[in-house]
Amino acid sequence: MAAPVSLLVEFGGGAELLFDGIKKHQVTLPCQPEPWDIRSLLKWIKQNLLKERPELFIQGDTVRPGILVLINDADWELMGELDYKLQDKDNIIFISTLHGG
């Protein structure tokens, strides 16, 4: 059993508009048999945080192209993307590049 994981999940660049406009979410992921990774975090976000138009955030099992993901302020492309194993106190940031302004 993986222990519960506490995370700071943030949305920016317009992605927060899909989450009631709330940018910072302090979340605790429950115990589960498998360790938490970004793939399972996305599923959890879809079920628990996403308020509208999920297709603008998630496509298939990953984020919609054009949404940047930072894991502790580093590009997730350097961290294993969906397979990154979440650690307690991690800071995960999703920034949309798709919104105008």
């Binding site: 920016g12 580093a74 350097l78 919104h99 105008g100 302004g101």
Partner: protein, 380 residues
């Protein structure tokens, strides 16, 4: 732990650059991004010392990063530029309130002067009033056409020598894709250049970030703590660009060089020499570049001011010809041009005094009555 930076070799990398695949740490990325922008400005000879440059400032990520970089590089490399923020207020309730507030915060922090021009001031119509007459569709047509001229007219008011806009490589690729899909050969030919020569208005344009990837612009803003505003335009769901943008992002996910490839295609595209493009002259009414006697904005305004808002949109050539020839339209035809039904009453006019456009050769004729005094054979 992430890999270490490929430039300094010591700090942990903070991002992978989309263009090169290099992993850089935060300070090395910021330095590289600034230096590349400087190189693009120097290589493209975008500015001359002493010029006043109006930065098209929307409060969004691209123009916020552009304004920050131009100010920084102007100081660092002694360009000798006078920088001014120029914002356009389309008059969409709630939309620009927040983004103009973001521009004002940037103004306060940077100390750059700010000038705001409104559609209502420039055209006599706000976007909200246009949308009330037009319904939910086609608003982006008006908005886009009016915006293109609004920066020009605003820059003329400021006495600016140049307009700098925040268009990035992704925007350029989207534009190439859209023009291609629409068969807009004229735009394809002149669209991809740096913009200094191919501008459509009286004030030359440049796009210092046209080689910069959206991902890097967003990360630059994030790492620098630049605060910007992002929203979906409330009228945008109908916009064609959104589809081009989504397609491009999907392509990029399987082929990272898709953006650079499309920009390259746009720049290298050559047209058959025997291909005839419409000659580009000046609008008879406002002096803006036009391939027809009236520019697109003036046609759209003509429709609005006649209470026929769809006059300038879509395939109504036969009806435009009838109007031009002074023939009466049937109720049915009027309706197709967006006229209100009989019991919907008169359109409330929102005309205000026209601001002097100050455009060379501008025709100061009041709107309306053009079918009597305008040249015969006027063609939309």
């Amino acid at each position: 732990m992430p890999t270490s930076c490929s430039a300094c070799g010591t700090s942990p990398a903070a991002l992978r650059r989309p263009k090169t695949g290099h992993a850089l740490c935060r300070p090395c990325f910021l330095a590289a991004f600034e230096e590349e922008t400087h190189q693009a400005i120097v290589a493209g000879q975008l500015f001359q010392p002493g010029e006043t440059v109006a930065i098209g400032a929307s409060g969004g990520k691209d123009s916020t990063v552009l304004a920050h970089l131009l100010q920084l590089l102007n100081q660092r490399h002694g360009y000798g530029l006078h920088l001014v923020l120029l914002s356009v207020d389309e008059g969409i309730a709630g939309y620009r309130d927040a983004s103009l507030a973001a521009v004002r915060r940037h103004q306060c922090r940077s100390g750059l002067p700010l000038h705001v021009v409104s559609y209502r001031q420039l055209y006599g119509w706000s976007m909200d009033s246009i949308a009330r007459h037009l319904g939910p569709r086609n608003n982006c047509t008006f908005c886009g056409v009016f915006r293109r001229q609004a920066l020009d007219r605003g820059a003329l008011l400021l006495g600016a020598d140049k307009i700098a806009t925040g268009h990035n490589a992704d925007d350029m690729a989207e534009t190439v894709l859209m023009n291609f899909l629409r068969g807009d050969v004229g735009r394809l030919r002149r669209g991809a250049g740096a913009g200094s020569a191919g501008g459509e208005g009286a004030v030359p344009r440049c796009k210092p970030l046209r080689h910069a990837y959206e991902k890097e612009i967003v990360l630059y803003a994030y790492f620098q703590g630049l605060d910007y505003f992002s929203t979906e335009c409330v009228y945008a769901p109908q916009a064609y660009r959104g589809y081009a943008r989504a397609l491009l992002k999907d392509l990029e996910a399987i082929r990272p060089s898709a953006v650079a490839d499309l920009c390259h295609s746009g720049e290298r595209l050559s047209l058959r020499p025997d291909l005839r493009l419409p000659a580009r002259g000046a609008c008879q009414r406002c002096g803006y570049v036009a391939s027809q006697p009236l520019c697109k904005a003036c046609v759209l305004l003509e429709g609005l001011d006649r209470g026929l808002p769809k006059l300038g949109i879509g395939k109504h050539q036969r009806l435009r010809d009838k109007l031009r020839d002074g023939q009466p339209l049937t109720q049915e035809e009027l309706k197709r041009l967006g006229a209100p039904g009989e019991n919907e009453g008169e359109l409330p006019k929102e005309q205000e005094t026209q601001m002097e456009p100050g455009v060379k050769g501008a025709d100061k004729e009041p709107w309306g009555g053009w079918e009597l005094r305008g040249p015969r054979g006027l063609d939309f």
